[in-house]
Amino acid sequence: MTSRSSAPPWWRNRRYLPWLVQGVVALAVGVVVAFLLTNLLLNLTARGLLLSWSWLGQPAGFDLAETILPFDASLPYWWAMLAGLVNTLRVVIAGLVGATVLGTLIGTASFSSNGLLRGLARVYVEVIRNIPLLLQLIFWYFVVFLALPNGTDAIQLPGLVLAKSGLFLGDPQLVNGVWQASLRFTVEFGALLTGLVVYTAAFIAEVVRGGIASVPKGQWEAASSLGFTPLLTLKRIVLPQALRVIVPGLNSQYISLAKNSSLAVACGFTDLYSVSETTLNQTGRAVEVMLILLGSYLVIDLVISALMNGLNGLVQLKER
């Protein structure tokens, strides 16, 4: 039995110490946040600017190049930003699908018995992930997509036209020198999507490669001795086990893709960031617009995280 006098004082007691440290840290963070907010409000007040949201209801006055939601300049700012958000979601969702497919193909290709395929997969990953995304977007847009022919010189296939102004599907018609069709993807959308898919796929390929490499070699050998083909082994034995490692890594790549979509302004695509920039310039409401932007990307990323965590729960080992 230890006597009371030999017990450490309370501030060194392991029962209280963690709480004390956490309390001090929480207090420090709170003070810093309060200081920053006070500073912001004082600065805004000094310039006669107080947070206001009434401008959101005023007519935007500017036009947007491409929107799924109907839009014209007489509609309010909040609708313009919503149209931008929908465009962002469009490119993010398409990008997630594209990057996952391409990344998985390249990741598995790096285990191919074909040396050429293996080498190509490695080169792809090393080249793509070492070039800044912004440069790649500018390359795709200005060098690749804007080099497409236009007007009557456009690439024409049955039911499909590929021109400098975009990809036209359905029944493309040349009206007054401009291609029109029921379904249309602009080159701005194309360049952004291509850039995001190609870039993110390189990182996803590495995640997939790491996941497959984490499955013990014995699994391959056991499957092979049971007469499984390599493709079947991959599909039925290796990938299900690799997913446990892959899914958490994919989550962060998906979040990166969503955030990187805001580089759209480099290739002229009308995304949430682009609309916000115009809005900010017209209204001068920098803080409010930034809060909306921050909130929107935060929500998008939290939704992706929640979905991926759900998926993660499904693929993890169930211990019974």
Partner: protein, 351 residues
Amino acid sequence: MPARFTFTIPLLAALALGGCAGDGSGIQSQKMAAIKGRGTLNCGVDGKLPGFSFVGSDGRYSGLDVDICKATAAAVLGDPAKVTYRDLSSTERFAALGSGEVDLLSRNTTMTLSRDAPGGNALAFAPTTFFDGQAVMVPASSGIKSLKDVAGKPICVETGTSTELNLADRMRELNATYTPLKFQSGDQTFAAYLQGRCVAVTSDRSQLAAKRTGFPNPAEHLLLPDMLSKEPLNPATINADPAWADAVRWVVYSLIQAEEMGITAANIDAKLAEAKANKNLAQLRRFLGVDGDLGKQLGLPADFVVKTVKAVGNYGEVFERNVGQGSPLKLERGVNQQWLKGGLMYSPPFL
């Protein structure tokens, strides 16, 4: 006071220095004190616009906007070379000014109500240094003769500019649909235009003319006759420092007034000697700071006009050298002529 809560140590240091620098003028300008403490004027410019602000092959900035920076530095610091230039995009410029990153924005910025008003961007504008208007440029081969012909087609425009809104307004008036392709920088905007993504590009007339000089074949591009807007281009400071805004305002006026009085960079010394010798030249003596305390009232040296004109010449000289007949742009003086010659350049009296 907002500055007390600001994290920027340089500003605090400058404030401390400014506190003891006081020239006995009693002018309360934190900005001016900060500039004097720092020893250099931070001037926000475009940097990529020939004639207005452009870095030449010798690495030096030149242009009409740059000359305003130089004249201001000459007035405040006594040396036109003491300027630190910051290249700013149209979207960065107001944030850079508001956060104190630059003291003065001399970047072909259009003065508008919402930018000027305390409930908007809360800027303080100096007098117009170039009266401009928004125009549209098209390839000569396109056959487009007026803005109406652009209907239904894509138009390239730089985002974060007043041109974006003017274009939307005008196209609605014409009841014409169009596709605005927006880019963050002028370079991207004009690159997309040159690549043929859009059949037209819109910007201030002077800016289109300036950018065109850098095109592979400038003669293949036409400016449409349509004038979409009026674009008075003014230097700007923040609204929160009226004394600093006044100083910049009268630096610009000093160049305009000098032209009206026939004072040039070449004859300023002779004019000054003449003013000193002849007590009857009251107006000239006041203007050049021989008599009175006009400079002191602004917190500037008495002879600030002598310094500004020596640094860059009068407004007419600045115009001709950078954008007028003495430059590759070869713009007409037009409405930028002195008021006595039917133009809009008019300085209030130096009294």
